[in-house]
């Protein structure tokens, strides 16, 4: 019981630290590395939520495939540094006044969200219902109830693939 809460805090700390590091880094390579750590923490959280398949897919698809794609692009473009000179502090949105208003609005939004969420009540996740986590059940539901969405997904993948080749391919070939 207590150890589970401890694990939650550990994984949550990893996830949030990774996420903060993503937007705090100037170097995109470090950002990609930080987001890999963040996704590993998320994967631990999925294990805690008794969704082991999602946890494995998170590591394989996200950390293994999508972020490698990001890393390839960063290195292909040789964009290992954000151009410091391009930080335009005179832009209207970056003046102190609007920045403060934006900050107050963001804190307000987060406060409202937390307030609303704490109204839900303190029942533990899974105290009410048994876990539905078997891969067999997952596959059955995916290939019956969600059959149409699954097929549409394949069209999306084809469209994405063709789009990527057309956009990134060399002109004039």
């Amino acid at each position: 019981m207590a150890s589970e809460l401890l694990l939650f805090y550990l994984f949550a700390a990893i996830t949030v630290a990774g996420a903060v590091a993503v937007i705090a880094q100037r170097n995109p390579v470090y950002s990609v590395m930080a987001i890999v750590g963040s996704f590993c923490g998320l994967s631990g959280l999925y294990v805690l939520l008794e969704a082991p398949f999602v946890a494995v897919v998170q590591i394989i698809i996200y950390a293994g495939a999508i972020l490698v794609l990001f890393l390839f692009t960063v290195m292909l473009l040789n964009a290992s540094r954000e151009d410091g000179a391009e930080w335009d502090r005179t832009h209207p949105y970056y003046r102190p006044g609007p920045t403060r208003v934006g900050g107050v609005l963001a804190v307000l939004l987060l406060g409202q969200l937390v307030w609303a969420v704490t109204k839900i009540g303190g029942a533990g996740v899974g105290d009410l219902q048994p876990a539905a986590s078997s891969v067999r059940l997952l596959g059955r539901v995916l290939f019956t109830d969600y059959m149409f969405a699954f097929e549409v997904t394949s069209i999306l993948i084809i469209a994405g693939m063709v789009g990527a080749v057309v956009l990134a391919g060399k002109k004039g070939n």
Binding site: L5, V16, T73, D83, L109, G163
Partner: protein, 100 residues
């Protein structure tokens, strides 16, 4: 068990960090990474709700979100490469013209 509130608050924090990244960073690749962060925050709340209700629907929607994220990353990065070829820059402020 950990209350679902904790997961939802964590999801909100992650989403807020992703949003902050979109507004603060001046690098198109980091912007795309921040969008991935936001998608993952939503995934976390989907899985938490699915666990709460004892169904697999939350996990299945998570798969679809991951597929969309993969397609988005592929097309987005292809666009970044195409833009970089024209402008030799990754700053969003370099891409303010609709046509050049």
């Amino acid at each position: 068990m950990v209350p679902i509130t904790y997961y939802l608050v964590l999801s909100g924090i992650l989403f807020a960090i992703g949003t902050a990244g979109v507004f603060l960073r001046k690098n198109v690749i980091t912007l795309l990474l921040s969008v991935e962060l936001m998608l993952n925050a939503v995934n976390l709340s989907f899985v938490a709700f699915g666990r709460q209700f004892g169904t697999v629907d939350g996990q299945i929607i998570t798969f679809f979100v991951m597929t969309v994220a993969a397609a988005e990353a592929a097309v987005g990065l292809a666009i970044v490469i195409a833009l970089f070829r024209h402008r030799e820059s990754l700053s969003p402020e370099a891409f303010t013209n609709l046509k050049w």
